[in-house]
């Protein structure tokens, strides 16, 4: 009896999830009347706007990841090693981006860092790009910090640091060659999630007026019929790939941990 109910709940739920995926795939393939074709994909992929915005977002994602790692790994390490009393506060701050809607944060950016302010970041394209990258970094902060902090939990930070220091290692050496390799799996999990977030982000990029993939998708959606579905399939594939890579990385580390 319980089993019937369980199957029922699961199957009804799965139908809800599968139908939109089928719908978007079917729609993306039906640009040519009467038969399935990859025309919508061909149109999208050969669109110079697509190529420009897609590569812009990929580059932004990579910069965000590098910045996030440089910010989060030393901080999480330092909190574990020397400032455990600060942990609740740091954790609270890293969770704030989940509380404050992104649209509010970017609203503040526009008012605080506009051309007539003390730090006129939106005055130049480069400045705005950096501001957008900072915005992405705050969006990914909760995930990045939690991933790295969980990774550090499995490492004896104090002993490793003392061993390295007694061999004459500098702080940079300790972080780059001892701590980072030990939490690499966690860092990669955070990085892939950051990548997925940045690739799909719309609000910040649109309000800062940067040519990112999210605003491009929205614009295409307002003007075309079949191409948006092709974009949705591509975006879904990116999300799947990122999540798959996270699973792979986690499984891989579990495997090596078990051996040692």
């Amino acid at each position: 009896m319980i089993r019937i109910w369980s199957w029922g709940a699961l199957i009804i739920g799965m139908i809800y999830f599968i139908l939109p995926l089928v719908g978007m795939t079917e729609f993306s393939l039906s640009m040519r009347r009467g038969e399935y074709s990859f025309d919508a994909y061909a149109v999208v992929l050969s669109d110079s706007q697509f190529q420009a915005t897609f590569s812009y977002s990929v580059i932004m994602a990579l910069f965000t990841i590098v910045f996030g790692v440089l910010l989060v790994v030393p901080t999480a390490y330092w909190v574990r090693l020397r400032m455990p009393e600060l942990r609740p506060y740091v954790e609270f701050i890293t969770l704030l981006p989940l509380v404050i809607p992104a649209i509010v944060v970017v609203f503040g950016y526009i008012r605080l860092y506009n051309t007539s302010s003390w730090l006129p970041m939106t005055g130049t394209a480069l400045g705005t790009n950096i501001l957008l990258m900072f915005g992405y970094a705050t969006l990914s902060l909760p995930y990045m910090y939690r991933a790295v902090d969980t990774g550090l939990r499995a490492v004896d930070v104090g002993t490793l640091t003392e061993a390295a220091q007694s061999l004459g290692a500098s702080w940079v050496t300790i972080l780059a060659r001892i701590i980072l390799p030990n939490v690499l799996a966690a860092v990669l999990s955070g990085a892939f999630l950051t990548f997925a977030i940045v690739m799909g982000e719309f609000t910040m990029a649109a309000l800062l007026d940067r040519p990112a993939f999210g605003p491009y998708m929205q614009l295409l959606g307002a003007n075309r019929a079949y191409e948006p579905s092709a974009l949705a399939v591509i975006a879904f594939a990116i999300t799947w790939a990122c999540m798959g890579l996270i699973q792979l990385v986690t499984r891989f580390t579990k495997h090596t941990r078990a051996q040692t």
């Binding site: 709940a9 739920g13 020397r82 400032m83 719309f202 609000t203 929205q218």
Partner: protein
């Protein structure tokens, strides 16, 4: 340990390691938010005032908040119910073991598949020319539009938001369901409780803080969502995030400080929901650890 104590003596050095983090989060997270919050209580000339907050009380802004709250609450409630049913099915529902991991993995993907592409997927499926809409019309003669269903409405928004709400519920509640000890069920059974009684008097009271807390989290999650709503309905639907978006783009309210007040209202609502979530999570950890 000698190195540690010698470093401890230089307390400022310890703090030096935290400077990048605090500087960054202060400048690009806290200060922008505070700027909005203070702006909500200031006149354009900079004097303190409650007028902006009071000016929110217009029919159009009130309805924007109200529709937002309704959509967020309904999608959170349905997401909780359906997500709980699915999570219960794969944890305590005696399904084959192989079902569970794929569902959790899929939930991880689906909870991150939000924003613009999600709206496209639903437009392609159940929009005016979508797969299901066309199928029902040609094969069954059912016109969804005549039946009162329109994807580009609050109902459509709720239906679409469920795509990331349900998976989030599954991800959060599955560990809680795992925390139900088998001894509790056995103890209840020995005392003569039926399955229903066990759920009503033991399992649900233990899970209740988790479920309610997740409801608050899902509510905040939907409340701040901008991209899905804009891609789905364009600027036509009057909900708080879309109104704020239009205000930032083109000052549709005609007063920058009223815009701050609108944003401040959103922070208050998501802040309250998250406080409820954190408080209830702490409570639920008493039993489920």
């Amino acid at each position: 340990m000698a190195g540690m104590t010698s470093l401890r003596r230089f307390a400022p050095l310890r703090w030096l390691g935290m400077v990048p983090f605090f500087a960054f989060t202060f400048l690009f997270l806290i200060l922008p938010t505070l700027y909005i919050v203070f702006g909500a209580f200031r006149t354009p000339q900079g004097a303190f005032t409650f007028d902006n907050i009071l000016a929110l009380n217009t029919p159009s802004i009130r309805s924007a908040y109200w529709v937002s709250i309704k959509v967020s609450f309904m999608s959170a409630l349905l997401g909780c119910l359906i997500g709980f049913a699915m999570a219960a099915a794969v944890t305590v529902g005696r399904l084959p073991r192989g079902v569970r991991n794929p569902l959790v993995t899929f939930s991880g993907v689906a909870s991150n598949f939000a924003g613009v592409p999600l709206a496209f997927a639903f437009i392609a499926t159940i929009g005016p020319a979508g797969l299901i809409t066309a199928y029902l019309r040609t094969e069954w003669g059912i016109n969804l539009r005549l039946l009162g269903f329109n994807l580009l409405s609050t109902k459509g928004l709720i239906l679409t938001y469920l795509f990331f709400q349900i998976p989030l519920m599954i991800l959060i509640i599955t560990p809680a369901l795992d925390g139900l000890k088998r001894e509790w069920r056995e103890a209840a059974a020995i005392l003569g409780a039926s399955g229903f009684q066990y759920w009503r008097s033991v399992a649900l009271p233990i899970l209740f803080p988790s479920i309610l807390g997740t409801l608050a989290l899902l509510f905040a999650n939907a409340f701040g969502a901008v991209a899905t709503a804009i891609a789905l309905t364009g600027p036509s639907l009057n909900i708080a995030p879309i109104l704020l978006y239009a205000q930032i783009r083109g000052d549709v309210l005609g007063s920058p400080n009223l815009g701050y007040a609108l944003a401040f209202g959103m922070i208050v609502i998501t802040g309250l929901a998250n406080t409820v979530y954190i408080w209830l999570r702490a409570r639920s950890e008493r039993w489920l650890k």
